[in-house]
Symmetry: C2
Subunit: 505 residues, 2 copies
């Protein structure tokens, strides 16, 4: 099979990206020769582009040429001027609502029914929540003991997870933006993977009091241990272990049941992206997402700074005005948040993204939104908010991988799909993370970290539909407990970095 | 012995605080009866105070009476109006520089000489730094393996610590305020407790590139592992374990030596404070601090919002104009930081502080600055900055315990003294934390968490000088490895919460 040398996405594009690294003089396409060596995944000019001329990929203006560019030139991040971001105040909604989606081959998964109602779980985990970081040292010692001494006796429980976080005290708890971390920590407790059990370790003098974290019905001595009420360290450990034993016993009685896919809620994220992400891994994730949505499942995608430059495209897919307005408001909030910090959306992308051929945030955004597929957007969530609808949902979170993950967990995802081009060993303790590579080179190098390889799309060995369908089945298998992700197998868990835009006092 | 019922600090004070809980009708002092039950550590009015009248403790106006207050009334946090904060633009410096300090009974400690020069270490720890949170999952697995398989063979090494943090990518790396976390992470690597060894795990595509984190001389293949260059998970673990083995071998050759106290650098912090903190634990910590400074040691104290209301008092103790100006600038920066978040210094204190009798941030601040003793302030540091002088130093950090600790570690402390009234099991993996209780009740309850009890000062059983001297000796013993703190013994370690005021993208 002949591997194509380049990928041109839309007919109007005046650049293509290289599938492999190209030597100087290589003929890319009829009559266009590379004027210099071009690294894998980078852009080559298909026409002469004059100074200030548009540089077009995805059919979208990525930026304007800083100087004259000749046909065959390598275009990198130093050669573009960023366009102004799309105006968020005059967006159209409902003009691109597509209801014809790829048919899902299965309609159920084997999950844990949620005793609180709502989405089912993909794992059966005892989560021990905390009001404040101060209790972390004691809790970690207790969790180690619980895992060593108790967990082996409860074969139906997958894990014990301490919900440690940096929030809870030493923060301006009444600052307007404090609503974000508080909502996230509150909703996190209800994640379906935690089986409806509530167990909270508090200190006793913190600002994030138990009544801010829990619903009134859950505020009982059976659910809460206050360290300041315990007679020293040994007593604290004994109390935590004893409560955990009680909770584990209940969780251990749970069994997987056949649930409709409408009880599955997953998240999509990408990190360490490259220029292949937008043509291989993200569109196939989008295809899998469309199949899931078609079957009634809920799929969230996120990352404000990585959709900001394509937000008008998302607005057109919003089902109604309310959804579009919420999208507008979340973008507005974030624009202001960045402005207060004296930065703008150009603070993203990373050096690795650029090395991978992504010249700026416009190009990154176009690739990023590909993971949302083509389904209508039924709801927009503020960071850490819970959904009220099923289908494709935009959950506004930072683009930072390690913050987006925990915030999607707070919104209720029970599995995450993570697309990567440069490669990251990212994982979450509270939900399995399926990792999809944008390049075959990465899968070849990280055989024991990448679950699904979408790089075969770039080389012409497979199609978006084929990889998307493979990914769909893998998601359902992992959700059903039939398969484990690599990150799960090795227990690669990142810290729970909750988004806190409020000041630290 | 007759326990006193109240503590009045300064002659001009028109309130006193109760040493124990008081029944209604109890005679506090000649002719003054409690008009209601008063909880332990709370304020009682010693005179009638009219509406808008000054409420004075520590000789300082804590606030103004919201309504008329009668002699014998319980004064709690709902009854005061906060005064305007001290003007930072017209502070005097050098007018209260005290050189007569309590004589230190010893002048040396047994520490680890620093191969990089500067302060010696109190512990011999292998720190494995990270550029970015993405590597945390892999690193944690590797550290567990290193502790299990390697550490037992290196008897002279105390521990292996992963410097995990939430910073490094997904942040606006060029935001003006990003200088704070970057400086902190960079300086943390040089903490004397890490013995001059540099070991960094990077991902490869992050914003916090290795050259931002390390000095040029340290950027070598012997010090850095880039996960994206490794052939999968197993190879990553093997590489980390192998590099750690090499570093552990070198650290294992180190031995404690007799070092002058001028090579000791410690930090002071308080958390979960109550109204006793300012009259028992903090002044005795201040006394110990004065002895250490007299012997040539360096002592840092911190917590911007908890000195803001006493900053004019600190300015008077600054040795020179430059130091006072830096103090002014740090306060100004923080005032602005809080204002941008739509809060002010009243966001501190916590509910627990209030329950412990601290009515507002002025009262908390007066107690907080007591831990700085009476020594002249020779230098003021921005968050995470390294000192250039020896003696008493104000290291401007947030008051949040879990942020102040890591930021003081970045500034180079090798031991921390932590005063608490309500009680917190706080600890740091990178340096021993000595915990001092402000109340005997807390020590009685938390026998296996509190190292030194200053509550005996309130009951008249001991004096500030006596407890201060006891604490001084305990600090030197722990620094010398002759004693362990409770938190060390149980391995109670908080997460490394680095201060990041820059936006998350």
């Amino acid at each position: 099979m002949n591997t194509p040398k380049y990928i041109k996405i839309k007919e109007v594009d005046n650049v293509a990206t290289t599938v492999i690294s190209i030597d100087k003089g290589t003929e890319i396409v009829d009559g266009i020769l590379a004027n210099s060596p071009i690294p894998q995944g980078h852009k080559i000019a298909l026409t002469d582009i004059p100074k200030d001329g548009e540089i077009i990929r995805y059919g979208v203006v990525l930026g304007y040429a800083l100087n004259n560019i000749s046909k065959g030139d390598w275009i990198n991040e130093t050669m573009l001027v960023l366009p102004t971001p799309p105006d968020i105040h005059n967006m159209k909604y409902g003009v691109n609502v597509k209801h014809k989606l790829p048919i899902s081959p299965v309609t159920t998964f084997e999950g844990y029914r949620n005793p609180k109602g709502g989405y089912g779980g993909t794992r059966n985990i005892l989560a021990i929540s905390t009001t404040v970081q101060c209790v972390t040292g004691v809790l970690n010692v207790a969790v180690e003991k619980i895992k060593r001494e108790l967990l082996p006796h409860y074969k139906n429980v997958d894990d014990v997870v301490a919900i440690n976080h940096a929030y809870g005290c030493g923060v301006a708890i009444n600052a307007p933006d404090a609503v974000i971390p508080i909502r996230a920590l509150k909703n996190l407790i209800d994640n379906p993977n935690f089986g409806g059990e509530v167990m909270v370790i508090a200190l006793g003098c913190e600002k994030l009091t138990v009544d801010k974290l829990l619903n009134e019905v859950d505020i009982t001595p059976e659910n809460i241990i206050v360290l300041q009420e315990q007679e020293g360290f040994e007593a604290m450990i004994a109390a935590i272990v004893s409560m955990a034993d009680h909770k584990l016993r209940r969780l251990n009685d749970r069994r997987r049941e056949t649930l409709p896919l409408s009880e599955l809620c997953i998240g999509m994220q990408c990190g360490g992206s490259d220029s292949f992400s937008g043509v291989t891994s993200n569109p196939s994730a989008g295809y899998a997402s469309d199949m899931l949505v078609q079957a009634g499942a809920t799929v969230m995608f996120s990352e404000v700074t990585e959709v900001r430059d394509g937000v008008h495209i998302l607005a057109e897919r919003c089902l109604d005005e309310k959804t579009m307005k919420k999208l507008e408001n979340e973008m507005k909030w974030y624009d202001n948040y960045l402005e207060m910090g004296n930065v703008d959306r150009s603070a993203n992308p990373t050096p690795g993204n650029k090395k991978g051929g992504l010249s700026n945030i416009v190009e990154k955004a176009m690739g990023s939104i590909a993971k949302s597929g083509t389904s209508p957007i039924v709801e927009v969530l503020s960071p850490g908010e819970k959904p009220s609808k099923k289908g494709l949902i935009y959950a506004a979170t930072p683009a930072s991988d390690i913050v987006c993950g925990p915030m999607q967990l707070a919104s209720g995802i029970t599995l995450q799909v993570f697309m990567t081009g440069r490669g990251t060993p990212y994982g979450l303790a509270a939900a399995p993370v399926v990792k999809v590579s944008s390049r075959t080179d990465l899968k070849d190098m990280w055989k024991d970290l990448i679950d699904v390889n979408a790089g075969v799309i770039a080389t012409g060995e497979s199609s978006i539909e084929e990889v998307g369908t493979e990914l769909f089945h893998f998601i359902v298998d992992v959700a059903s407990g039939r398969k484990q992700t690599w990150a799960e197998r090795y227990k690669l868990y990142n810290d729970l970095c909750i988004f806190n835009p409020a000041p630290i006092t």
